[in-house]
């Protein structure tokens, strides 16, 4: 089959590779009909996530048609159309049964590697380095889906791929980010990053009752899309450095600060001035694995007793995190890879009932063969690219 293969930093290619096979009784094989490139894939593309290997197949946002099932998969049939959550979770461990699916104990065959890094392992993930299992991803013609009896969700007729594809990651991720804010009537939520995750966080915050949402980014088309979602948009490069951003947000919120702040940027934040340069140098020389600029701003700007919600991905160690601000303002920090299976059914319901059409975020459609070009323009934010959907 054809699949997008990682060869090195900024070097991904569509290669011919063997077809996937059933390896475990609860596996299924899917023929992929749509797959997307995620902001998380850019961390791989830029080679900031350790343990990626040349030859790895990427992609964790995909849907398609079941073509084969293992003997223990009783709920799916060949021909079923399904969307697949990006986390690989068993459904029966302590964490899965506590609705904390991304923390599954039995999803990561390389758990020992993750334990060395984090103390304990997260769930497995498709196409996301060997630290989270080294599973072949879904930017391909076919994919093997482990624990297929508890992961994939069947898509009812009448909904297009474009409408449901983002149930596989960015919609639930933005939704969980907003839910983690424990939104109360009158709340103002500030969202750093207007990529797909930020866009869904904005819309989810309103769905959950936010009074106002303030969105920060520097790309006009992303700020425009945020505004279309009801947010007040702020180009942070026009505002200035971290202190200026904090000041501006305070002014915009009656001197209180946002009630909750969402970091939808993650480890590769762009920085302004000296602070940006500092983090860039430290990351490039591997003295820290993150550039936590948006996170610092979120912590600093957040009102007393507020929540900082972090959907943006971090993998290792970061420097100059304002611990004193967290402590003395009594902040609550909530974060994590998304507990996908918790959100699939309810969010599918929202799509079915027309409360949201997630396809708004798509700016580019390409053939799988053109995926390398898709990575490039998405990474470089060229051609007003916000979300790329690939068709095998």
């Amino acid at each position: 089959m054809r699949a997008l293969v990682w060869h090195g930093t900024h070097d991904v290619r569509v290669d011919n590779v063997p077809d996937p096979e059933i390896l475990n009784p609860r596996d299924a094989i899917l023929r992929i009909t749509s797959t997307a490139i995620c902001g998380s894939d850019l961390h791989l593309y830029d080679n900031y996530i350790p343990t990626l290997q040349k030859g790895d197949i990427l992609g964790h946002e995909f849907m398609g048609e079941v073509v084969e099932t293992g003997p223990e998969v009783k709920n799916l049939r060949v021909g079923d159309r399904v969307a697949v959550p990006f986390t690989i979770s068993c459904g029966s461990c302590f964490f899965c049964t506590s609705d904390l699916w991304s923390l599954c104990d039995n999803g990561n065959p390389n758990a020992e590697m993750a334990e060395a890094m984090w103390g304990f392992s997260s769930a497995g993930m498709f196409g996301y380095s060997h630290l989270t299992g080294g599973y072949a991803g879904g930017q391909a013609e076919y994919v093997r889906v482990p624990y297929a009896d508890v992961g994939p969700i069947k898509i009812p007729e009448g909904l297009s791929d474009d409408q449901v594809l983002f149930l596989t990651d960015v919609f639930p991720t933005g939704f969980m980010a907003a839910e983690n804010c424990s939104i109360q009537p009158g709340d103002t939520i500030a969202v750093w990053g207007c990529g797909p995750v930020g866009q869904f966080a904005i819309r989810s915050a309103f769905m959950l009752g936010a009074h106002r949402v303030i969105a920060l980014d520097r790309f006009p088309e992303r700020l425009r899309m945020a505004r279309e979602g009801g947010a007040e948009a702020l180009d942070y490069t026009e505002v200035g450095n971290t202190l200026d951003v904090v000041e501006r947000l305070r002014d915009m919120t009656g001197g209180r600060g946002p009630d909750a702040c969402i970091d939808a940027v993650g480890m590769e934040a762009h920085g302004v001035g000296l602070e940006g340069w500092y983090d860039k140098v430290k990351q490039v020389t591997q003295m820290q694995t993150e550039r936590p600029i948006a996170l610092r701003q979120a912590i600093q700007a957040c009102r007393k007793g507020g929540v900082v919600s972090i959907p943006g991905v971090y993998g290792g160690v970061a420097d100059k995190i304002p611990l004193g601000a967290m402590m003395n303002k009594g902040l609550t920090l909530r974060m994590g890879q998304t507990h996908m299976q918790r959100y699939l059914q309810p969010l599918l319901g929202h799509v079915e009932e027309g409360r949201i059409d997630p396809s708004f975020v798509i700016t580019h459609r390409m053939r799988l063969d053109d995926a390398p070009e898709g990575y490039r323009i998405f990474r470089d934010k060229q051609d007003e690219c916000i979300k790329v959907v690939l068709k095998p």
Binding site: M1, N24, P50, F94, E112, L131, V281, T285, V317
Partner: protein, 252 residues
Amino acid sequence: MQSIPSEVHPVGARDRKQDMNVGDAERFVSVLAGAAVALAGLRRGKGAGLAAAAAGAALVHRGVTGHCNVYGAAGIDTSDKGRIEQAVAMLPANRALHVERVFTVRRSPEDLYGFWRKLENLPRFMQHLERVEVLDERRSRWVARGPAGTDIEWDAEILEDAPNQRITWRSLEGADVANDGTVRFEPAAGGRGTEVRVSLSYSPPAGKLGATVARLFGENPEQQIRDDLRRFKSLMEAGEIPTTEGQPSGRK
């Protein structure tokens, strides 16, 4: 709960372990210290400073992957495997090595005991075991995969069998490597399942045979128990052991 499949594919963790020559504790410090070393390097600027920065980067790398190129080149091995082999080499004959590990499994002590007590099940999650044949109520024959395709065999007997609580076994006279072990099943608080605690002791013989046996049993025994117990947990909780062995990739 899923039924237990008759065949499970073992996880491919062992190949990677051979690449690891940096011990666990040291690896974590590497990740953290890598940053600091490199920072200090950059402050000094140019020449020596850049070398230090590069060293910092290398520290982060080895912290994450468990492999240090410098150690590799110098033949230094501070990993568990290395330490155990050195320890075994220094052991007088008939001195026992002891390892113990615990995992919490979300099943009842009854279920877990029942599965374990059928000793034929053990090779389904103990990676180095080829098979266990039950000879009678107490005695069994264990066959392990040795280095270079050789099998190592020994007979064992059950010393204590406390249903749903504890099983203790030991090898019989004449085993190449005298070993004994206990597995305990204790309910975890708050309905969190069962704490499964395994302790193993074995006494590698001296000499060349000892070295061979040590490689089999002593190749990072802590890690081996941890891996085996993790597989046991997955098998009992999920009905299968997660794997990627046999999946497609763009390699080769």
